[in-house]
Symmetry: none
Subunit: 403 residues, 2 copies
Amino acid sequence: MNIQEVVAELKEERGGRIVMMVADGLGGLPLTPGGPTELEAAQTPNLDRLAQRGVCGLMTPIKPGITPGSGPGHLGLFGYDPLRYVIGRGVLEAAGIGFAVGPDDVAIRCNFCTLDAEGKITDRRAGRIPSEESAALVATLRAIRIPGVEIFVEPVKEHRFVVVFRGAGLGANVGDTDPQVVGKPPLDPVPHDEASRRTAEIAKEFVAQARKILAAQSKANGLTMRGFAKRPHLPGYREAYGLKAAAVAVYPMYKGLAGLVGMDLLGKPATLEEEIEVLEKAWKETDYNFFFVHFKYTDSRGEDGDFDAKVKMIEAFDAVFPRVEALRPDVLIVTGDHSTPAKMKSHSWHPVPTLLVADTCRPDTAEAFSEKACLQGGLGHFEAVYLMPLALAHAGRLAKFGA
Amino acid sequence: MNIQEVVAELKEERGGRIVMMVADGLGGLPLTPGGPTELEAAQTPNLDRLAQRGVCGLMTPIKPGITPGSGPGHLGLFGYDPLRYVIGRGVLEAAGIGFAVGPDDVAIRCNFCTLDAEGKITDRRAGRIPSEESAALVATLRAIRIPGVEIFVEPVKEHRFVVVFRGAGLGANVGDTDPQVVGKPPLDPVPHDEASRRTAEIAKEFVAQARKILAAQSKANGLTMRGFAKRPHLPGYREAYGLKAAAVAVYPMYKGLAGLVGMDLLGKPATLEEEIEVLEKAWKETDYNFFFVHFKYTDSRGEDGDFDAKVKMIEAFDAVFPRVEALRPDVLIVTGDHSTPAKMKSHSWHPVPTLLVADTCRPDTAEAFSEKACLQGGLGHFEAVYLMPLALAHAGRLAKFGA
């Protein structure tokens, strides 16, 4: 048995309520030797107080040295082994616009591109046409009809859009059609297994019809397809944990990821303040027993390489905790899906400072919430997939294993 | 290769002698925020001195968040992956009374119950009849004969007893006969695979004969069967580690568990003092090179929720260490099979303070034996299955892996 099977067997349908507060890209690095990380530079009186009450540790998102994308990062947080459950690019792109990919769907990332008279690509991104223009073109592609399959075409941003083929038995093992260089025509979609032959035929027919519709366009007169994917077969939160779970997020990507594991999406918050309002309202008026709250901007400012701005975002995140504590969750978790050091301007593999507060915590010596303090924490170094089992245990939701 | 296979390959039939002192349920929690755990509240001058000499750490019995029963807890301590080797309920119950379950045995937990004139259960525990009365009834059931199978019937406590069917090829995949509610008759034993058909027939015949024998009883005139199980196929200590191992324990359960991994059971000690006497004698007079010494009452007082009494038990445990040290074992381990915080009145998932003393220890900064001090320990956070490999390594009993 693996940990997920054990937890599914031991889960109980009663126990406490859990709040998981995720600051995307929380972990950081000093800009200069001997300096503080973003979290250490930030004034975080609330998180420091929680660190004293609870238990801290450093969470490895996937395995040491492995930098996660948002998909695997969140799967790990949600307790699903990211090396076992792979979210294909097409499904992730669809999740990113909040499109609920179903079990019979093949989702594909598409780019508008510019083709010359010979059909060779002259611009792989169609001059990065504006999103509005692109969305209007996407709408024209909805006229495409192919027998036996339902087709969805959804805009993403600039030249990017998503195509979803819905039909029983469609495989997703189809090669990309983007040749990755200019001067060559798009490749034909090539199936790599029997179940994907029909999918490849549909894709080819889709491209043919799209070319006719787009023929008069000067920039976006062609398209390429990448990342054919089906949603992973994973048990949802109810089945895996016996939890009725809800997600509070601003960005479609994180709503999409939460949706993949069976969380309900609450409200339409546009700011962290509004997210907390949604949480407060649902806490009082619903019987959800797990809440995932996602805060994006710690990651965004890290990606920008703006150390000071990330510090400010961490402080903004800290400031909402009195309101979260006032709800008196039985288990409160604060973590990130990965580190995004401003110094690196990217996601990184560094472990993520994590804290858990519950009445059943064994106190450690961490007196603040920081990478350094978490090194001394009672949770030690642990892999993300163990965060949910720990949350359930502290919520009194896991029975004893064996007698 | 997994760790167990590696160790089996590298084991050497020579090296030092190992003593593993297990205080059941050793780990704890503070009763109040900022307070000490039971181990931190206890005066443990001997264990503190050993912690300074040796190396400390925090041992996760199964995986983070998973609370072990006694069976999986000890399997882990003994180095067997508890998620791989599952001890069925029947075998554990048999182990609990010191019945040595053999490879051809199917062990079953049985309850006496009360049936009405229609054969429906009116009391699932037969009024919890006294153990003496129950044992006398169990003796009458030994008259049952079924061709081709040897039958053992052994009392446990009150209405509980164990039945063992011994016969080649008997499967144990048979459903429980306890309907879990009153007002219904016991279920028929239903086989869930081909190998278990004969077992189910035997069980049915056993129940039929038992009903005749018990017919005149007013309370215990029926029985239910649960947890049909065979012993797990696991390599014993000799095969796994090249060790000649002995167990010193007061309670039958722990003798039974030690027996399952091929340890010999020494003496009939009734107290911790007597256990140490048994250890001393065997140390001098035998060539066992591994000793498992089990102390029960730290767990018992934790289960009672009696913090102060658990503290006293830890102090009693501490007091015997000068005698253990006087034997000069090459490797001395002090640990528990899990935590049993008095605050929770139950087993818990919290990691277990652990120390190892040997000439090959790399000293750490732990100056006392406590949960907090172990956080700084050189063993770090580690899973129970690695304790035996560490013990063998420090005893000079593991060869180099690869050239």
